[in-house]
Symmetry: C2
Subunit: 153 residues, 2 copies
DNA sequence: GTTTATATTGATAATACATATCAATTTCAC
DNA sequence: GTGAAATTGATATGTATTATCAATATAAAC
């Protein structure tokens, strides 16, 4: 099994456990959205609108609000993260590795989103939190600027 | 002159230069909003609504849209920064020292916002940008978690 | 100082993203 | 299978922000 397939299975397991722990129900719609999200949007940052449009083509019976609600469930269950890069739209991203936090560089010219991870930053943040007696739950780090392609023009 | 008063004067100068460079006009409303923002909101993170309500008490003739537009001008001219801490409302903050970037810790329980600055993080980010041939324009870092008061309860 | 071109203002309409509502339907524990 | 409870999709509502526009204020030209 490929690592990606393995990961997807892990997320499915996590989500199923979440569903049963919270006494929720598993539905066809949630299955479809899960498959689409974890099948086609790995490493990407999809808006609700985009995911909905994508799903609607093959599953026209699935409603807009359901996509919203389901992505929120993904977030609550810890298998997806929600981001906001300043354009007013929430973006969702499948979580690949829950241990290694990664961050984003957003090109202000072309809008492309690059990812990076850095251990030194992580340990800095842990230290800062500790120093301030702050119990770190989550953190977000974004770099805005010009990517190598756009800085030339 | 106190450092704060000096800083305020510097920002005023920057803003006036911005105004004349862009062939905009200086108005009573912009003066009032400047005074209020740089007088009472240093080190704070005010929403447009809050600032508007505050100003309206003494200057009822100043409209909502004007406060919006003016804060946007402050941001464009580089004397204020805009933040979004996930509650859907933009928050504005006077820029005190343009050299030293600072960041925020947000308590998910009481909503209180703490600030911190860290040289090591800054140099890390510069390095990361350099490594990726990214021209760094701006960056945002937020830590979410429980503050020392809230983590006990 | 007067004229004139242009920016600004405030009230409000419009937009956009997100959430709430609710009757019909589906799921699942029994 | 039955019934309680969750879910769904369509749509209404809410909330933050932006656009519109006639009236007004500003500043440059004269």
């Amino acid at each position: 099994m490929t690592p990606v397939a393995q990961m997807k299975m892990d997320r499915r397991k996590t989500f199923n456990e979440f569903i049963s722990r919270k006494r929720l129900k598993s539905t066809k719609q949630r299955d479809v959205i899960f498959e689409e999200f974890f099948g086609n949007y790995m490493g990407r940052h999809v808006t609700v609108e985009e995911l909905y449009e994508d799903i609607k083509r093959r599953y026209p019976y699935i409603g807009f609000a359901t996509v919203y609600r389901t992505l929120k469930l993904f977030r609550e269950s810890g298998i997806a993260s929600e981001r906001n890069f300043g354009d007013g739209k929430a973006r969702y991203e499948p979580i690949r590795d829950e241990r290694e936090h990664h961050h984003h560089m957003i090109c202000t010219e072309c809008g492309k989103i690059y990812e990076f991870a850095n251990n030194q930053v992580e340990s800095c943040l842990n230290q800062i939190a500790k120093l301030n007696e702050f119990k770190l739950e989550n953190h977000k780090l974004e770099i805005y600027g010009l990517c190598s392609s756009c800085r030339g023009s």
